[in-house]
Symmetry: C2
Subunit: 390 residues, 2 copies
């Protein structure tokens, strides 16, 4: 038996960053930057007003002072001349501060009469100017690797970066195995169940920014499995579901081995979960997940997702964790690391009463996997615990 972290270290050794590709900025969100992006300009590109008001010389901005308004500076249309002593330029938020001016008096502090303005009795002290390059300067970088958020995309746009180099999407082939499986919408025989894991894992892969491909269900014969592995060619990662343990009916490992997979079984000290199978076959990495639906989805979050992130060029790390306050006490933990189905709401976390790995309805209701370390001490209500959001 190995720990989750040890299993992850093995899995990380099977994958590496995929090749880069260039995409337009509109498609960059959710992708991982593969090459630093560089600002092509200063922002602001000029000293810019941060308020609506009047641009003047700071030294002249004293209570009661009067100025001639000699022009206007609006966003997109700056004032061409220079502000001299006794002069002011009407200015709007985001507009260039004209030459000679170094202060914007906000309009609330000004009385205007024709082309003449007079400052009020109480002036605020701030210059109300954003200096050129205050946000970023030409050559400043957004550094790779980085999973691009909507805010990153906005920043890249303002840097005048129209396309970015990102890691291409990992292609993932999903093979659900087992004579007991039929597709949703089909009419199962009395001994059959519906293939659910491949649908859940496909959706998870979508959210991770991978390119999942669901292959036809493979029955429990060598021929069916060989056909499935053949159809999986071209994938960067082949994920099998079911048949990863070592029972009599678990052909997947044997067939994959015959096809040249250098495979390993990992008995992982975790709940829920069963032995994982993993290895490399040709150009692809392979991950064999347990067929139990709850275990498959949990292992998808805990093992598959971190592998995808490494293929995208992100650091090799466990699934990201958050913290929340326990809504209830918990008895001592088990010798295996436990990923408990739980609900987080308003900063508190409540483990589900049933932790039976047969209960997909409980997993679907949950929005978190509460992590209890192996041999965890009893926990009191109000203790802070870690969880993986799902």
């Amino acid at each position: 038996m190995i720990t989750v972290d040890e299993a992850l270290a093995h899995l990380f050794s099977l994958v590496s960053r995929l090749e880069p590709e260039t995409v337009p900025l509109r498609e960059a969100h959710g992708r991982v930057l593969a090459q630093d992006a560089e600002a092509r300009r200063d922002q602001p590109p000029f000293d810019a007003s941060s308020m609506d008001g009047y641009a003047v010389k700071r030294s002249e901005a004293v209570p009661g002072a009067s100025f001639d308004v000699i022009g206007e500076s609006a966003a997109g249309h700056g004032f061409d001349g220079t502000v001299n002593a006794g002069q002011a330029v009407r200015i709007f938020t985001g507009a260039p501060v004209p030459e000679g001016a170094d202060k914007v008096v906000i309009q609330e502090d000004v009385t205007r009469d024709g082309d003449r303005i007079t400052l009020g009795d109480r002036l605020e002290d701030k210059p109300n100017i954003r200096p050129r390059g205050d946000d970023f300067r030409i050559g400043d970088r957004v550094e790779a690797p980085r999973l691009l958020s909507p805010e990153d995309v906005a920043l890249l746009a303002s840097m005048n970066v129209a396309e970015v180099t990102v890691t291409r999407k990992p292609k993932v082939a999903l093979i659900a195995t087992g004579d007991e499986l039929v597709m949703p919408g089909e009419d199962p025989g009395p001994d059959q169940i519906i293939a659910s894991n491949s649908f859940g894992l496909c959706a998870l892969l979508d959210t991770l920014g991978a390119e999942p491909r669901m292959l036809p269900i493979a029955g429990d014969t060598r021929e069916a499995l060989e056909t499935a592995f053949d159809l999986a060619k071209g994938a960067d990662l082949v994920v099998t579901i079911g048949g990863a343990s070592v029972g009599d009916h678990d052909l997947v490992g044997a067939v994959a081995g015959d096809l040249g997979m250098d495979r390993a079984f990992y008995k992982v000290k975790m709940r829920p979960g069963k032995p994982l199978m993993a290895g490399r076959m040709g150009d692809a990495a392979m991950l064999g997940l347990p067929g139990n639906p709850v275990s498959a989805m949990v292992c998808g979050h805990i093992f598959m997702a971190p592998m995808i992130r490494v293929m995208q060029g992100l650091p090799a790390m466990p699934a990201p964790r958050l913290s929340a306050k326990l809504a209830t006490a918990m008895p001592p933990g088990s010798p295996r690391e436990h990923y408990m189905r739980a609900q987080v709401e308003d900063g508190t976390i409540l483990p589900e009463r049933s932790q039976d790995s047969g209960m997909l309805s409980v997993l679907a209701r949950a929005n978190a996997l509460l992590i209890r370390p192996a041999d965890d001490a009893p926990r009191a209500q109000g203790d802070w615990v870690d969880y993986v959001p799902i």
Copy 2:
């Protein structure tokens, strides 16, 4: 000045749930269920073994007992006969428990010799059987409205639900306004900047499951704005960026009003942020966001995202919040509710040093908006605070 919650209440009154549509399960993830989905079968559909082992009568499963192995039950291939006294059936995980048996002895507790098995000295007590319908029963429901997670999709598949009724995606037209704007990749004049908000907001709308459409930049003329509003026809929500305040160069409100918009300006007691504009024009709701990039993105999370969720059929609620522990003390807050750019890591949150709303680079680096209520008391390091993840 109104509070954020008051502004949200006004905005919610402008939108309502859109029509439903039916989509295949493969495309259901990230959509909002518009109609309860109903299980078309029991799960498990039969009493199922939860282990690999031998199915026997529980009353006979005592240490040292022997049985004749009369057949096998595998997943997808049940055993047809009945288990009588002194008989056992080889059984695998997920397979139907044969008639007459009510206990599965795990294989680790059994010695097999030909067609004869003998139980060991120490037997575990559990039946190792998942009763029919333990997870869910025919007619059990996944209730609408619900934003469908990968786990929900797995559950729906196992219920044999091949397609689901979801709310159609909200169509959102984005209009960036201002003579100062050019598109990324273009060559800005000396007084111009790059349109960044529409790219960031488009990406945010993607993550929300909306269908954004970026319209061409509208210059500061009536004609340009009228053309833009015309191009926005057919959208469920029209979002304008810039021109939402009441400065001399803010034509958007005036033009929208002339086109029949019943508009309101909301001065919201928040930082960062400026007046919002909102109303209805024909069949569409309209939201006018400030042109400042940081304010536009923050208002996108705090105001636009909750409106989208209502259009998807989700409850009218503020942006979801999480909690984290302050990494540093903070002085007293301001009279306005403050959405501070911050970084959350390992359960602690650190506000960025610069909270200047001109700094898009700071917003992009942040992964959270730390919420300080209006007139918040000083906070100590280690205090728990709320944040909106971004």
